[in-house]
Amino acid sequence: MPLEPVAQLLPAVVDLPFREGYVRSIIFVSLYVSVTAVTLSTLFSLPIAFVMGFTDFRGKQFVKSVINTGMGFPSVVVGLVVLFAVSNQGPLGALELIFTTEAMIMSQFVLATPPITAVSLAAITGVSDNVRDAAHVLGGTRLDVALVVVKEARYGIATAVLAGFGRAISEVGSVLIVGGNIVSSSGISKTRTLTTAIQLEARQGQYDTAMVLGAVLVALVLTVNAIVVRLGDEGVMQ
């Protein structure tokens, strides 16, 4: 069997159009920033969703409106606000966070919080009153009833977290503004993420690199969305 044609193709596969460490560091920065931001956002959002789901207070509808507005907030504006906050003249200027992954985490935190809060709240309030009443009449305390509701809403809450991650990992505007898309002199990403790298490589005509990075990003987002759909199906089956 003639192997020459295959051998001729190999260099195209083996000799990647970029250094391996470059791509690996970009993936690492993307995941580090997004996972950290979504973790912090989840810790912040879930208590808000629980309080709103289990209590009534004045201004609840207003808070809901703010959260819903936040879901559609333009990411570049978020980036601009965070940039101002961490710039030398801003309130957090002394912390010297500008063009760091911490600043990127801040902006992604702001972007991920509204969807995580809103979807979690919808999951909690979507639990049937019958289930709450059943836990109550079976002798449950308020805490027991709340635990039952959270357990019933678990698929929706997981979906909320993954939706927040999906928004964070695929976001480009704000991380470009506050992170600066920086790579070290040795070619290792400092604040360059998959999205900002794709934007840069495409602009410089490095389409092959951009395509590989795009494929990695799409694979990540597809995986997350597949899990979201799967969890959605589980929730519907309840």
Partner: protein, 254 residues
């Protein structure tokens, strides 16, 4: 005895119950009958210590329930069970559903220990759970997911769930309204069994034949209050109230 005395209640501007008095003794079945929307469920919720009436008193063995602190009331509430018209099972196995009432009565340390053993898969099934499921003929469904049960099975599990922690009183809200004759017969048999164990049972139903079959006493709810209450045989055969007579003879009375 769980007793409602001169109870009144309104939802918004609509008065649902006015000046109603009713009691259930241990070991008796009291059927609350009346047309749809007359307030049967609301009355059951008063009896389950689940809803506080606007006026009047609710007592359990002489204790004025709504004058107690929340913790004291919880102790009384835990002596009563309720089954809703819809099964309202949790998204878990049949076993986890039926043992719920037992678990919430345990201390947090015991609950955490049980959860741990459950995760490790070496947690035994409480005897009360097995007995309650046997009573409704579903002991073979122990490990099945509740959401995969048929409507009749789900309602029987719901009944077992309320029985497992051995309440003194049990309130049933139209428990057989969506069930086929076989499941209805099984639930009715379980009701008789529970009564024989000394449990006082209140059952809201619009099925007068069912009330005749299983009730010791019948309370006829017409309008905003009890039109008549008495032994089932007497109420159905010789009603003293004119509206009751019309209702049991099949005429619409509002």
């Amino acid at each position: 005895m769980v007793r409602l005395s001169n109870v009144s209640h309104a939802f918004g501007d609509e008065t649902v119950v006015r000046n109603l008095s009713l009691s259930i003794d241990p070991g008796e079945v009291v059927a609350i009958i009346g047309p749809s929307g007359v307030g049967k469920t609301t009355v059951l919720r008063f009896l389950a210590l689940f809803l506080e009436p606007d006026e009047g008193t609710v007592t359990l063995d002489g204790q004025d329930v709504w004058s107690l602190s929340e913790d004291e009331r919880l102790k009384l509430r835990r002596r009563i069970g309720m089954v809703f018209q819809e099964a309202s099972l949790f998204d878990a196995t049949v076993e986890r559903n039926v043992e719920y009432g037992l678990r919430v009565r345990e201390s947090w340390s015991d609950r955490l220990r049980d959860e741990l053993w459950s995760v490790l898969g070496s947690n035994g099934t409480p005897e009360a759970v097995t007995e309650a499921l046997e009573l409704v003929g579903l002991s073979d469904k122990l490990g099945q997911e509740a959401r995969s049960l048929s409507g009749g099975e789900a309602q029987r599990v719901s009944f077992a769930r309320a029985l497992a922690y051995e309440p003194n009183y049990l309130l049933l809200d139209e428990p057989t309204s969506d069930l086929d004759p076989r499941n209805t017969a099984l639930i009715e048999e379980a009701i008789r069994e529970a009564r024989d164990r000394g449990i006082g049972i209140g059952i809201a139903t619009h099925d007068m034949h069912q009330a005749e079959r299983i009730a010791d006493r019948v309370a006829v709810l017409l309008g905003e209050g009890v039109a008549e209450v008495g032994p089932a045989e007497r109420v159905f055969e010789n009603p003293t109230d004119e509206r009751t007579a019309k209702f049991v003879s099949g005429e619409l009375v509002y």
